[in-house]
């Protein structure tokens, strides 16, 4: 089992029904990255993440993992709003493992361990849908983490959460990265980006205007659009 990296996008565009949402995106993501995608509403952040994850297909261009077109299973995506099945929190986490073909005993073990790592061991038996928004998002993270992904995508994971829950989620994301998973996430929250990013990719109207190490980006962005965004002039 070799590495799935680099993830390379070459000339990728997404033009549903004639409307260009993403244009000519070319980038490569290496192992152990911690990348945050920033941009205004409608810039194409969610679409870019879904393309990289393989949920949608590009209109033009190619997406390659370690040079091949095969979509690897060692990846996961956490959505802005967590989708919980009508079963216990533990069963939700185990579900992802079941799909991956893991045997029952191992499933239960790994799921319980993942829940413990996100601090929800005491809620394992609770119906997932009655948990709070923050708790559900943590279950979603546990579900993704249990798969031991090489790369984790997150699409505005704290946008629907209160500050406490958001802080908890940020801590978990750091832990996941610390355990060796690459992180690619989008966010609105500049403070969050500052806290979590090693690199910033800035999207403006479907194009990447710059890709800069985080510390540099926040001191001196390389593109006019990013500059305007940081100054609050873009929505």
């Amino acid at each position: 089992m070799g590495t799935i990296f680099p993830l390379s996008l070459a000339g990728v565009s997404f033009i549903p029904g004639g409307t260009p949402v993403l244009r000519e995106v070319t980038l490569a993501i290496a192992q152990s990255s911690r990348i945050v995608i920033l941009g205004a509403n409608g810039a194409g952040k969610s679409v870019l993440i879904r393309l990289m994850h393989g949920l949608i297909m590009p209109t033009t261009g190619s997406i390659r993992w370690a040079g091949t077109e095969t979509r690897p299973g060692a990846q996961a995506l956490v959505f802005q709003r967590p989708v919980m099945l009508r079963r216990s929190a533990l069963a939700n986490v185990a579900y992802g493992l079941k799909l991956a073909g893991i045997a029952r005993a191992a499933r239960q073990r790994r799921a319980a361990a993942a829940l413990a790592r996100v601090g929800l061991a005491h809620l394992a038996g609770r119906p997932a849908r009655v948990l709070s928004g923050g708790e559900q998002q943590r279950v979603a993270l546990a579900r993704a983490w249990a798969l031991e992904p090489a790369i984790l995508f997150l699409d505005e994971p704290t946008a629907s959460l209160d500050p406490n829950a958001a802080a908890e989620v940020e801590r978990i994301i750091s832990d996941i990265h610390g355990a060796g998973t690459s992180i690619v996430m989008s966010t609105h929250n500049l403070g969050q980006a500052r806290r979590l990013a090693d690199e910033i990719i800035f999207l403006h109207r479907g194009r990447i205007t710059e890709r800069t190490p985080a510390t540099l980006f926040f001191k001196q962005p390389q593109s006019a659009e990013a500059d305007a965004f940081l100054k609050g002039e873009l929505p």
Partner: protein
């Protein structure tokens, strides 16, 4: 009022014949719903989830068959199960299994169409997440069905209502044989044709009350299950 008194009198007397007719009605229709559900529920969910050629045509046909008259189903069942028909050697005509078969066929489109609708609504919520986790269409179908199980319960009740209230199909494939294939609806039809309208009405009252009671029980069970198990 006459009918009400007759009804109460019948029930109070615990008439053995009445009890066996009611028991047969319930067991035939219940079996029919179970048999139909085995095929209809996965089909309905698959139609909501899957992307295969002919999906839309199949959906339209299935919806159309919801309007199949019971008597037509009965006639087709008769032609199939008659000794002169393709399934003749099974010797099922004029037996309760034939009635189960006919009612299952009758109820299948209804169950499938309602399941499809319920699944479609749920699929909108789950589609991206299930695809992200790598579920195949078949796996997604199974997951969806389990997740909408509370709504499916209502779907099954609808199917049961349709089955237990129909008379056209069971009359023809069952033959309304006294003590063997006589159910509530065919008894009501018989008593009406004999001119014993109060008795027919009384039986009708009993049937309606029974169906209401079953629905109430099912509703209560579902509420309890939902509260306890989410």
């Amino acid at each position: 009022m006459d009918a009400l008194n007759t009804a109460l009198g019948l029930v109070a007397s615990g008439d053995a014949k009445l009890l066996s007719i009611v028991a047969l009605s319930l067991s035939v229709s219940l079996s029919a719903v179970i048999v139909a559900a085995l095929f209809a529920l996965p089909l309905g969910a698959l139609l909501a989830v899957g992307h295969f050629p002919g999906r839309r045509i199949l959906t339209v046909i299935m919806n159309g068959f919801m309007g199949l008259p019971a008597v037509v189903v009965g006639l087709l069942g008769y032609l199939l199960l008659s000794r002169a028909g393709p399934l003749g050697p099974l010797g099922l005509l004029f037996t309760p299994p034939a009635m189960v078969f006919a009612q299952a066929v009758l109820v299948m489109p209804l169950l499938a169409a309602l399941t499809r609708q319920t699944s479609e609504d749920a699929w909108r919520e789950y589609e991206e997440q299930l695809h992200s986790l790598g579920a195949t269409s078949l796996q997604a179908t199974a997951t969806l069905l389990w997740d909408v199980r509370h709504s499916l319960f209502t779907v099954l009740l609808a199917g049961f209502g349709r089955a237990v209230s129909e008379v056209g199909a069971v009359m023809i494939v069952g033959g309304n044989i006294d003590g063997v294939t006589r159910v509530m609806t065919t008894t009501i039809a018989l008593e009406t044709s004999k001119g014993d309208l109060p008795l027919a009405l009384a039986l009708g009252l009993i049937l309606v009350t029974l169906v209401l009671a079953i629905n109430a029980l099912a509703y209560a069970t579902r509420e309890w299950a939902q509260r306890r198990l989410g």
